[in-house]
């Protein structure tokens, strides 16, 4: 993958983020619109880059830290686009795109080459496991951003941000969709583990924390029915949940040894 195109992509997203920032100060309606156009262009470019890498490698190239950060960033941008087009959340994009810049910025200095696929990963179940996993993570990242924004809005009551019921609604939707997709990721992973290692649940730290992520968000899908927890508590839980996701994705891969190493 060309590093130049990666920097172009980063610049597009960074300009869109600056657009949202400037809008907070100057409040020109053209700015969020321009940012949305830039993000759409960025998503299209990133989709092309991802498709090209997939085509060149002959398999979904999400096997190292660069590739996972790149895929995560793509999924987050795509999901933001979905929520933006569905709910017109505008300034909310600042928070999400800042997170996206962190992900893409983390990928930029890393080696972009595609390594040979190890035989155990050569199965469609691996691709399904990865796709559902990172799209699930992206929804959780979206919920984290919306949760943080909910807490800001509950204090600021700003006209620039969506109202609290809308933020709550988006947060619940992000958690629910993320949980569903992460569930499918766990199922694809379990079936794959059964045919690759002969047992569908493994007691390695990555698998255990994946179950913890699943249980946490399963709990959140239930917690929305507890009236006292709707809104504020739910927003805090979304933030805490993303902490669990980050530890499962990055913490275990980078700090501890696991069967899902990140290099």
């Amino acid at each position: 993958m060309s590093k130049t195109l990666l920097y172009v992509l980063f610049t597009i997203y960074a300009t869109a983020t600056v657009g949202y920032m400037v809008h907070l100060i100057w409040r020109r309606p053209i700015l969020p619109k321009a940012s949305l156009i830039l993000i759409t262009a960025g998503v299209l470019l990133q989709t092309w880059l991802l498709g090209h890498r997939w085509w060149m490698a002959g398999y979904l190239p999400v096997t190292n830290l660069f590739a996972t950060l790149f895929f995560f960033s793509w999924a987050l941008a795509l999901i933001y686009l979905y929520f933006e087009l569905r709910y017109r959340i505008r300034a909310t994009g600042l928070f999400v795109m800042l997170l996206n810049l962190v992900l893409l910025g983390g990928a930029l200095p890393r080696n972009t080459s595609v390594s040979a696929l190890i035989p155990a990963l050569d199965t469609p179940l691996f691709s399904l496991h990865i796709i559902f996993s990172f799209i699930g993570y992206a929804f959780f990242a979206m919920a984290f951003s919306i949760g943080a924004l909910y807490l800001c809005q509950s204090r600021l009551n700003s006209e620039l941000l969506p109202d609290l019921p809308t933020l709550r609604r988006i947060n619940e939707e992000a958690i629910f969709l993320g949980f569903g997709l992460f569930t499918l990721c766990m199922i694809a992973g379990s079936i794959w583990a059964h045919i690759a290692w002969g047992h569908w649940f493994s007691w390695n730290i990555k698998s255990v924390w994946s179950v913890l992520v699943w249980m946490f968000y399963a709990g959140m899908c239930h917690a929305k029915f507890v009236r006292r927890w709707q809104g504020g508590v739910y927003a805090w839980l979304s933030i805490a949940g993303f902490g669990v996701v980050l530890f499962t994705y990055l913490g275990i891969g980078l700090l501890l040894e696991s069967n899902h190493p990140l290099e």
């Binding site: 035989p119 155990a120 050569d122 199965t123 179940l125 619940e172 939707e173 629910f176 969709l177 569903g180 997709l181 569930t183 499918l184 199922i187 379990s190 079936i191 794959w192 059964h194 045919i195 690759a196 290692w197 002969g198 047992h199 569908w200 649940f201 493994s202 007691w203 390695n204 730290i205 255990v208 924390w209 179950v211 913890l212 249980m215 946490f216 399963a218 709990g219 239930h222 917690a223 929305k224 029915f225 507890v226 009236r227 709707q230 501890l256 040894e257």
Partner: protein, 358 residues
């Protein structure tokens, strides 16, 4: 009497409501989550104790680990208990929903996920109580081994071909295997990475492969190349025969002159040779292949120059049994269908303005 009956009914209703309680579900899931979070770190930093969790089923590993360090493994049965209680709570919710299905059918997706979760908990328990994990088993092509804990069953490796990259990196391990029951073949399969043989709860899959030293190729000035392995006999002259007794891949001789094996890798190979004539044994001794040929052999007219080892490739196969695997697959299917249903019903409920205002 009637009052007592009403009180009992009320008590049962309260117990049932508690069993179905959403708050109980959240409390149990939270407690299990926190406990497993801590436990997973204990697990990671104590690999000597927890490494066996992957090689054995829980009902074998837990009693042994508990007898060694109950302080470090207490969280495993405790979190298992919490997950089991969570499963029972989920079952109560499911039964409660089934009684109200006429009015709550829109929740079918969510309750399919509940059903799947219950099936997975049962499947895990079943597999970890009555299943087993064994291996890796070293099998040479043509060999047949008895399957542990399954009397009458045997596994035969008919053919083995490792696939390697030009750099020597393993790409795949292709095992043509057959499963036998009471001397009758019941299944045949090509077992390779991500393609196990699955039969009656058994999962047979490749773990690795290796080579074992079988013999050595020598060059003899008058005969060309000669392959020698334990049991080989070589006629030197009409009345003199050389016999190979033993072959050690890595051997050393101690101060008393005794030769012993020091490893399985090819480092310092040695052959025990015996030279016999018409009157009986003429000489017996060890020939360290890195050293010159023993004088007794040279005097008898034996001239051997080692060329290279003759190895036989073996396959390492893992044999596991999980009688709960079909149930787990059914649970996974329920959950997958449930997720799809739930996605549709979520948006339908949104369109209809149905909000979670409990």
């Amino acid at each position: 009497m009637e009052l007592m009956g009403q009180q009992s009914k009320l008590l049962l209703q309260r117990i049932w409501s508690f069993g179905c309680s959403l708050k109980l579900a959240i409390a149990l899931a939270s407690a299990a989550t926190i406990l497993i979070m801590g436990g997973s770190l204990v697990m990671h930093f104590n690999p000597a104790i927890f490494a066996g969790m992957e090689q054995e089923i829980m009902s074998k590993w837990l009693p042994r680990a508990w007898s060694q360090t109950p302080r470090l493994v207490f969280w495993v049965p405790l979190s298992g208990l919490l997950v089991l209680l969570f499963g029972i709570n989920t079952l109560c919710c499911l039964i409660d929903w089934l009684f109200k299905i006429k009015t709550r059918w829109r929740k079918t997706g969510e309750y399919l996920i509940h059903t799947g979760f219950i099936l997975l908990v049962i499947a895990y328990l079943w597999g970890n109580i009555s299943g087993f994990r064994s291996g890796p088993h070293r099998i040479f092509p043509g060999d047949r081994i008895a399957i542990p804990k399954m009397p009458g069953y045997a596994l035969q490796l008919d053919e083995f071909t490792p696939r390697l990259e030009p750099s020597g990196r393993p790409l795949d391990m292709i095992n043509r295997v057959s499963l036998w029951k009471n001397e009758e073949p019941v299944a045949k399969a090509l077992v390779r990475i991500n393609h196990p043989l699955i039969f009656d709860g058994l999962v047979i899959l490749p773990a690795s492969f290796g080579q074992e030293l079988q013999g050595f190729r020598f060059h003899m000035p008058d005969r060309g190349f000669v392959d020698l392995s334990p049991g080989s006999r070589l006629s030197i002259s009409p009345d003199t025969t050389l016999e190979v007794r033993k072959l050690l891949p890595d051997a050393r001789q101690n101060s008393q002159g005794r030769v012993m094996q020091t490893g399985n890798l090819l480092n310092n190979p040695a052959m025990q040779l015996s030279l016999s004539g018409s009157g009986g044994q003429l000489w017996q001794g060890w020939y360290f292949l890195h050293n010159p040929l023993p004088g007794a052999l040279r005097e008898a007219g034996v001239f051997l120059r080692p060329v290279g080892p003759i190895n036989k490739t073996f396959s390492l196969l893992t044999i596991n049994r999980d009688p709960g695997d079909k149930l787990a697959l059914t649970g996974s299917l329920c959950i997958s269908i449930g997720v799809i249903f739930a996605f549709f019903s979520f948006y339908r409920k949104r369109v209809q303005g149905d909000r979670p205002e409990v």
